[in-house]
Symmetry: C2
Subunit: 351 residues, 2 copies
Amino acid sequence: MRVTVAVDCMGGDHGPSVTVPAALALLREDPATAVILVGLSSAIESQIRREQHAFGDRMVVRHAAEVVGMDEPPALAMRSKKDSSMRVAIDLVKSGEAQAAVSAGNTGALMAISRFVLKTLPGIDRPAIATIMPTENGRVYVLDLGANVDCSAEHLLQFGIMGAELVSCVEHKARPTVGLLNIGEEAIKGNETVKQAAELLRASGLNFYGNVEGDDIFKGTTDVVVCDGFVGNVALKTAEGLAQMIRKFLRAEFERNFLTRIAALIALPVLNAFKRRVDHRSYNGASLLGLRGIVLKSHGSADAYAFECALRRGVEEVRTGMLAHISERLTQMHRAPAPQDEQPPIVQAVS
Amino acid sequence: MRVTVAVDCMGGDHGPSVTVPAALALLREDPATAVILVGLSSAIESQIRREQHAFGDRMVVRHAAEVVGMDEPPALAMRSKKDSSMRVAIDLVKSGEAQAAVSAGNTGALMAISRFVLKTLPGIDRPAIATIMPTENGRVYVLDLGANVDCSAEHLLQFGIMGAELVSCVEHKARPTVGLLNIGEEAIKGNETVKQAAELLRASGLNFYGNVEGDDIFKGTTDVVVCDGFVGNVALKTAEGLAQMIRKFLRAEFERNFLTRIAALIALPVLNAFKRRVDHRSYNGASLLGLRGIVLKSHGSADAYAFECALRRGVEEVRTGMLAHISERLTQMHRAPAPQDEQPPIVQAVS
């Protein structure tokens, strides 16, 4: 079955010059996809001139007159820009014309509009943002990445459920392991919220590993790492900052003088292989989880390759029926909570 | 004037085989230092045999019969092990026989014992752990790193004051910039505690830069980054995990086959120069700030070079009169709070 993606062509640092070529690449490489290119039609069409008719009805341009600014307050963008490319793309998911929306625009606005238009799934208080990161032995899904700065234990449980279903769908793992981000492995560590969340996760029927620490993210200790949005955002950005610094230092050393430049030439294939392994572009595309629809956020600075990765991620979530799986799991937990000792937290969490 | 450091020789993964050679190296390289080597005297003496009399009264061995285990609950270590090497080292600071104590042992126990024996400075509710990290253009001091998992805005203010005085002493910067770790630069971002802390810091008379994000740590945006211990610990460990992964990937690519091994040989001087630049060993030694005495925590896995760096850091804090500077700043703020608009938070914070 064909999967149609609504593409917010105006979002991100580069707009249509990145988003449109990425969409065209997706169409070329995956014949079972279609795209609705949303935004200023003149700007979009100038990017597709040569391939105007190459994909027949698999490519449609939908004009939207407004653009949400990268620094615009989310509430304002939601209320006042009903004809923004972001809003129209999400409306297309709501109406069923598209099965997923992808945007590189303002994260806060994307979350606010998605939540307002699509609503949350039953049993989910707050949607979360989940991203993929490389690990020593594969990849890990981390959530929340900044949508929720103050999380209760129940929210963290919900993130665990959604993260596990996401991984089980897109990575085809039957019972993905879930870790709770903390500052020590022992159960006595951490603040009250985290301690309670550990209790809930332990009683949830999920494959709960227990507490993990910051370094476990990249060690690949678990398939999913759950944390509140403040901590997750700091962890992600700290990692980005360190990666950037290492890149700069490595380059500076190889460019120091004539001899080091020769060494760089000789080491180039090795350095390129290394770069491919940690290429953040291939991990682009964070999932907004917990909504009644599939929405993905691309990094604002994404290039066409990175943005295409986010589009592919959206297609994959549709094909694997991720939404239905999350809903089903929530319903199951609501009906028949897993065996537990004292407290009945699951019912609390999803009711 | 001679600076005497009490060395907990038994702490850390390697004990006297690392701590004693590190102390001897300090004595050799810095004639204005002395050490009191605390721990099982037989274990210590077997490491110093050849240099037994080389340093005269600059080296003393103080026998302590007990050792605090790396996983021992801090409260237990504090109450039941009055003759542990850690406790005796801190007692030596209390009695004035040493001006600083350095340990690679159990962090929680070190903090609990230090707090119990030395007490906090007037105006400080909770001591914090401050560490140094490399940045694109120098170094940054980050606190708290895990001593406090639930911090109020006033605690964050106190961390800012202590961090700024630390940097002003050991880095000789007149007015170091202080950043508040948050998930966005705008003042509206973050949770309530962080927003309030920003108000307090803005009114404190410190050189407050404003909010910073995770990537600003390694960009070197500010000299000091303030955060609660949960977030700081996750950020630090995430960075450690990423650095480890990158190291492994880089090594794996260079060891892939015969050709890549040759490339590695040729690139070796460059790779070594790069390694020196990000060598975490030279950043070893986290300061326990806010106590009436100077205590430093070395990484448990430190080698002799890294442990010596922590010893040097302690010596530096003594020589620059860091403790007096922090106390003075707190007294000043207590007497004459900086001009401010609505709330008088400083008095609240230090009273």
